[in-house]
Amino acid sequence: MIQNMLESTPSYLQTGGFFLVGVAMLMVVLGFVTYAILAERKVLGFMQLRHGPNRVGGRFGLLQTVADILKLLLKEDTIPRDADRPLFIIAPVIAFAPAFLVIAVLPLTERISFANIGVGLLYYIAISGITTIGILAGGWASNNKYALLGSMRSAAQMISYEIPLVMSVIGIVLLTGSLNLNDIIAEQQSVAFLFKQPLAFFIFLIASVAELNRTPFDLPEAESELVAGYHVEYSGFRWAFFMLAEYVYLFAMASLTTILFLGGWQAIPYLTFIPGAVWFGLKFISVVFVMIWIRATFPRLRADQLMSFGWKVLLPLALLNIFLTTIVIELFRSF
């Protein structure tokens, strides 16, 4: 459907259609974010001997996040007097927009995908890098030292971990021969890349947690050190935008992990009667669960350890992975 629309001649109808589909997707993502937050709180609560939300919206707190968002909307919008006003206002938008943009290339099922572009993977990584600018701008514009430190940490971290992230998937690209995410899924018809590229998977998982600024890589907003890091001066809906960006990235990154390593919507052999959407959902949820699990388990790294880990451990390992993959591919080709 989307493919047809992409190929049709431009018209108001077509633009309107795109807009509506986009809004629908946004709603899906917001719905996810709402319940991802709830899930995170519930799972964390479960792991930490607590109950988590259990008042608003029944005993499972189903409407807790909705109530939180409503509260954020009603909150007074404060902008520090000495802040760089335009930048302060625009920073959350810069941070959030790329998070939503990257979803365009993610094939959620065989049917539901937006843009099936040839360089899907590259697009994802390139666009997601822009968020750093939003965070940096927000931290700088706040005119707060904690925010500045947080945003500087964020920039350093995001750039450092993008490299192993990209390097780790090169093996997959080599095996598939394409950057198109649909092709990558198709390649995993029989065996998921998790098994063909286990090293890459671990590098990717670690780097993606770092990209998401989540524990143990949550230095940019390290609560116990920098109070709240780059968004310390934000409140109300501007703050919500940063949070939204974070959770949309969680959605996107979990989806990407599913697509790259777990075979996307591909069913496990002999269980093909279950629809692809369910398979994608299951894999996706397990990735999200692992992320939350990690958050509940690990302490935070220190900035210098983070850097040396990224550059001295992950990057060489990723390069090694590429090296091994090429050798294996060559060997297979030779025989």
């Binding site: 904690y146 143990p216 116990s224 050190e225 958050r295 690990f298 302490p299 935070r300 210098d304």
Partner: protein, 366 residues
């Protein structure tokens, strides 16, 4: 060439990791600390001044509020000072009750430290686990004293309340339970690579520095000084128990961590033995005059609190109020070394070092 500029960063008095209203002004270059100036006094309540107009028994609740994580020990130091002056004999049962609650308090205090330290380092879950066990201790202490945090349990000459029926059995059951949980902590935390990397070699100082800065408690024992007043200058009935003084030699945050975790085990040993030896019968309060008037003179006694050496100086004129009361608050002394440790460290280490010293602001500020 990049030109960098030093800036001032004000950490606290409202900051999640300063454990209260502690403020520290940092001169930083990037994230590297050039100079650190601690500012204290935000929680100064003038306990010593207030005490000059109170009778000794009335001062006890004030001691609860100094080191509010180990209020039992604070109760004890005041009572101990007065009892030393009056050369008072304490009934055996009272002594045992005191030791049990003090050691339980020590475990609870170390648990809070463990939890909050991990929280500082960025791990949230151990905090809640530690508080589960602490809650069990608090329940025990509530049962015997009626308070959850500020117990006001001890009196000059004994304790206020006898142990309720079955209380001793509950304590007895608690010991193996706590051991089991402690093993769980070690599984979860002590073996964690990230945690080890965060604290190993951080904030190290030598034995000489530790002595010069008057450090005490785990902060001293982490440098290899085997010094525990319970062992070296036994007070109360501590000479009746068989326990070790854990000592580590590296002097870094990891050594302090290991020290405190080992101390929990030792405290459990003491509780276990105390419960076994607990006398079935007997008074829990000595016969003391209704108005306590220590003889004229002055005294200084010191005991081992969870945070180190807590001391109490009383100058008495034979009146019912002390002429001068002074507490040697271990956190106050221990915190002094902070600026020295912070020089050249980054902000992440600030948290790891400050947390490792284990301060309670109520005690720092008196």
């Amino acid at each position: 060439m990049i030109r960098t500029e030093e800036m001032l960063l004000n950490v606290g008095p409202q900051h999640p990791s300063t454990h209260g209203v502690f403020r520290i002004v940092l001169k930083i270059d990037g994230e590297i600390i050039k100079e650190a100036t601690p500012v204290i006094g935000y929680l100064h309540r003038g306990t010593e001044k207030i005490a000059e107009n109170l009778q000794y028994t009335q001062i006890i609740p004030y001691t609860d509020r100094m080191d509010y994580l180990a209020a039992m020990t604070n109760n004890y130091i005041l009572c101990h000072a007065v009892e030393t002056m009056m050369a008072m004999e304490i009934p055996e049962r009272a002594d045992y009750l005191r030791v049990i609650v003090m050691e339980l308090g020590r475990i609870a205090s170390h648990l809070v430290w463990f939890g909050t330290y991990l929280l500082d380092i960025g791990a949230m879950s151990p905090f809640l686990y530690a508080f589960r066990e602490r809650e069990a201790i608090i329940n025990l202490l509530t049962e015997i004293s009626g308070g959850r945090l500020t117990f006001n349990y001890m009196r000059v000459g004994g304790v206020k309340w006898d142990a309720p029926d079955g209380w001793i059995d509950k304590v007895r059951e608690f010991v193996p339970y706590m051991r089991e949980q402690l093993a769980g902590y070690h599984d979860l935390v002590t073996g964690n690579e990230i945690f080890m990397a965060r604290i190993k070699g951080v904030g190290a100082y030598s034995k000489e520095d530790a002595l010069s800065y008057s450090l005490s408690g785990a902060n001293l024992r982490c440098t290899g000084v085997k010094w525990d007043l319970r062992k070296n200058e036994p007070y109360s009935i501590y000479d009746r128990f068989n326990f070790d003084v854990p000592v580590f030699h590296e002097g870094d945050a990891l050594a302090r961590y290991n020290c405190r975790m080992a101390e929990i085990e030792e405290a459990l040993k003491i509780v276990e033995q105390a419960v076994e030896q607990f006398p079935e019968e007997g008074p829990f309060m000595a016969k003391v005059p209704r108005i306590i008037k220590p003889p004229a003179g002055e005294t200084y006694v010191r005991i081992e609190s969870p945070r180190g050496e807590i001391g109490c100086y009383i100058a008495s004129k034979g009146k019912k109020e002390p002429y001068r009361l002074k507490f040697r608050r271990p956190s106050f002394y221990n915190l002094q070394i902070l600026p020295k440790l912070l020089e050249g460290e980054n902000i992440s280490n600030l948290i790891a070092i400050l947390g490792g010293i284990d301060i309670v602001l109520g005690e720092v500020d008196g």
